[in-house]
């Protein structure tokens, strides 16, 4: 009799349901792999290179041309137009052909040497904030360098040696140490959080759908019956296949991220692996909770998709949560992805002891247990077996 009822039966049945459903294959296997592959491929360069700009060089002297050459030598900047008027350059910017304009005034070299302080003006198109900021760095560096090289010549004229001059030109230098992501790699920065975000979104939705579709087909009671009447066995038998499937998927993602691409992983494999496992469980708990709250397949699914999408923003990996309105900052902690993100920062980037992240691991597991507390409501939902309308 044990072989006909119980958790194992539900477990096997759920695997069959998953593998025989086109929507499950598409949504849980193809979709995450496709998204992951696409984003990784897109950002494989790490940092955007060769962002086009236009240079308006009204001076066209030896000094200004060497300045332009130096600017062109930067990896991020690609000078696409060299002989435009400012008006033409602006039009190119409006058309999105260039993302920045660098202008050197007339008589630049002469004025610089004679102490008349000519002014370099550069423009960035910050409607595209990332391109704009990257170009800003390059163009600012060149402007400061221009000042320095003129200073160097003036200093030499006054009889200083080069060795004496360098500290005078830049008395205080700033050494930047971005902890954990020294290359400022955007792929590291984004894909490490987008990937778990996709996992969370999809898994929360499919957890709901795995119960909802039973009710829709009217097999809710049959399903409870198969588990031998035990709510715990029924629920665990049902969610376990998804846990396994998504854990395997996460292992694959982690291998690509941390092994093949050598993304920073400063506390080793186990803390991040455990974080993925906790995230998977929290997504399932989140799904169960929504199902219990709404008691309706479609509404809880809509809620999961809405909250799953907001997760990407409120987590604060693009725009920090702490800079958002205090209300939103507080609310951000109700999103499991936020906790995963904080674990990831400490364990993968900063490489500090896991105890500092213990609270976030616990919260992720807390979401799972909250979901389990709702088990009774989910059981009733299955037992009532009523699809909307």
């Amino acid at each position: 009799m044990a072989s006909e009822k119980g958790m194992w039966v539900v477990f096997i049945r759920e695997w069959k349901r998953i593998l025989s459903s086109k929507i499950c294959i598409w949504g849980m296997i193809v979709a995450p792999l496709l998204t992951f592959g696409l984003l990784m491929y897109m950002m494989s360069a790490g940092l955007p290179t060769k962002i086009p700009i236009a240079v308006v060089d009204l001076d066209n002297s030896l000094t200004s041309r060497s300045l332009v050459r130096q600017l062109d030598a930067f990896a991020k900047t690609d000078i696409k137009f060299k002989s435009l008027s400012f008006k033409e350059a602006r039009v190119e910017m409006e058309r999105g052909k260039v993302y920045g304009v660098f202008t050197i005034p007339r008589n630049f070299a002469k004025d610089a040497i004679s102490g008349n302080r000519p002014k370099i003006v550069f423009y960035t198109n910050n409607a595209f904030l990332i391109s704009g900021s990257l170009l800003f760095q390059d163009m600012k560096t060149i402007s400061v360098l221009a000042s320095a090289s003129v200073g160097l010549r003036m200093g030499e004229a006054k009889g200083y040696t080069q060795g004496q001059l360098m500290p005078i030109l830049q008395p205080i230098s700033i050494e930047a140490h971005p902890i954990g992501n020294p290359m400022l790699n955007y792929s590291v920065y984004l894909n490490n959080v987008l990937t778990p975000g996709i996992i969370f979104l999809i898994l929360a939705m499919f957890t709901i759908s795995s119960f909802g579709s039973e009710v829709k087909m009217g097999t809710g009671r049959k399903f409870l019956d198969l588990a031998g009447g035990s709510t715990v066995k029924a629920i665990f038998g049902k969610i376990l296949p998804y846990t396994i499937l998504f854990f395997v998927l996460s292992l694959f993602f982690m291998s690509v991220l941390y092994y093949y691409n050598n993304f920073p992983l400063n506390s080793g494999f186990f803390p991040i692996c455990f974080a993925y496992l906790c995230l998977i469980l929290s997504a399932q708990g989140f799904g169960l909770m929504l199902l219990a709250v709404f008691g309706n397949y479609r509404l809880s699914l809509s809620a999961a998709s809405l909250l799953g999408m907001i997760s990407f923003s409120i987590t604060g990996f693009s725009f920090p949560s702490i800079a958002m309105s205090p209300v939103l900052y507080a609310l951000s902690f109700l999103f499991p992805l936020r906790h995963f993100f904080l674990i990831y920062v400490d364990q993968a980037l900063n490489g500090i002891a896991w105890q500092y992240s213990a609270y976030h691991y616990a919260t992720l597991l807390g979401f799972f247990f909250l979901g389990l507390i709702c088990m009774g409501r989910v059981r009733n939902f299955m037992y009532e077996n009523v699809y909307e309308e």
């Binding site: 990332i130 008395p171 958002m324």
Partner: protein, 402 residues
């Protein structure tokens, strides 16, 4: 001709009833586009990061190092929360998230500066956000240049005021950030999200309608404008498309006009140009959504099918990862989506004040998409009826009745 227009008109009316009778569709077509943009604008509304918390380790503890710290603290973007004695203490504070960065001033700071040697200030930044790093680095650079200029004048000897100014900075420079003057996050990201919300909610809403038809086997409702009257699929597709589009023309006035106004996002485009540009976008997005909708075999499946696409669609539009750096293959795929030319065009017009001729390419692409997706949606309708409607089992509905 009259019959054609009348048929389209009746399909249109009939479809409106279908839309408004289903609370799920009303939610996706009206409530979500109303609420979601507000939410996103609210999320990013603070635009920039100010007062990033840093800890200073000042081993020099001299007048100059204190001046450096004071100036950094005085800047808008950085807030010095504590001074600690050594690096270990500072690191511990960063681990506890009491600060997001450390500024380390070496013991030799003041001595170096007074003996005309170069000195270095070390800035350690938590990389949980690029914006923290940017705020700290730019502020420290700014302060170091400013103090450096004063020190240089002292080193090289004072002259006239003009000479001093030239010694401080032989070449002056100015940075002008176009179109997004505050360098804000919302001003940059939200316009793209607004455009994407239109396409994605259309996709979800239309998918729900088709899924519901499948669930309830109401193929006659889907194919007729009134009982017993067959409509040619070409006209059917147009009529339904117009129904959804007209709803979205109203919605988009809120999404693209009122929301940016409420949240003070850049809005320098000519409203008329935006309206003209939006017209093919909404049509293209509608027919695109209709094409995909026929894959929704059940009412709820559209969520499972397409919700995740918002993430790749947004990144493929080239708003954050620059369009020029996107691999050509992905650019080609991205141009199959209405959202890509839609976002390019809308950002150009709305944020950058472009005219229609500046976005002519995107405009034409959108019209091409309208035609292509309209044809595809019609073909997909055949496929759908063929596969799902028991009445037709394998033979196409007649095409001769046009």
């Amino acid at each position: 001709m009259k019959k054609l227009l009348l048929d389209i008109y009746y399909v249109w009316l009939h479809e409106l009833k279908v839309v408004f009778r289903d609370p799920a569709v009303v939610l996706l077509f009206l409530i979500v586009p109303l609420a979601y943009p507000v939410l996103y604008a609210f999320l990013y509304n603070n635009e920039a990061v100010h007062e990033v918390k840093v800890i200073v380790v000042d081993e020099s503890n001299s007048a100059l190092s204190r001046e450096f710290t004071r100036k950094v603290d005085g800047a808008a973007d950085v807030n010095v929360v504590a001074h600690v004695a050594d690096m270990e203490e500072a690191r511990e504070a960063v681990r506890r998230k009491e600060a997001y960065g450390i500024i380390y001033i070496p013991a030799s700071f003041s001595i170096d500066l007074n003996t005309a040697q170069q000195t270095a200030v070390l800035v350690y930044s938590d990389m949980s956000s690029m914006l923290f790093y940017k705020a700290m680095l730019l502020t420290c650079m700014e302060v170091s240049l400013e103090m450096g200029a004063d020190i240089r004048v002292n080193d090289m000897g004072h002259g006239t005021r003009a000479q001093d100014a030239s010694t401080m900075e032989a070449v002056d420079y100015e940075w002008v950030s176009f179109y997004n003057v505050s360098n804000g996050f919302a001003s940059f990201l939200v316009p793209a999200i607004l455009i994407l919300v239109i396409q994605q909610t259309l996709l979800l809403g239309i998918g729900t309608i088709v899924g519901t038809h499948n669930d309830k086997k109401r193929f006659t409702v889907a194919s007729h404008m009134s009982e017993g009257k067959n409509i040619h699929p070409l006209k059917l597709t147009i009529g339904k498309g117009f129904c959804y589009s007209t709803l979205y023309i109203i919605t988009s006035a809120w999404v693209l006009r009122v929301v940016p106004y409420l949240f003070n996002l850049p809005q320098i485009g000519d409203p008329l140009t935006i309206a003209v540009f939006l017209f093919p976008y909404i049509l293209a997005a509608t027919f695109f959504a209709m094409t995909l909708s026929y894959f929704c075999s059940q009412r709820e499946f559209v969520m499972l099918l397409v919700v995740f696409t918002s993430v790749p669609f947004l990144f493929m539009s080239g708003i954050s990862w620059p369009w020029v750096s996107i691999p050509p293959v992905l650019k080609a795929i991205a141009y199959l989506l209405p959202s890509t030319p839609g976002i390019h065009g809308f950002v150009s017009i709305n944020t950058m004040g472009a005219t229609l001729s500046d976005v002519w390419f995107e405009y034409v692409v959108l019209w091409v998409q309208v035609v292509v997706y309209w044809a595809l949606a019609t073909m997909m309708y055949y496929w759908w009826i063929d596969n799902y409607d028991p009445k037709y089992k394998g033979k196409h509905p007649s095409m001769s009745k046009f």
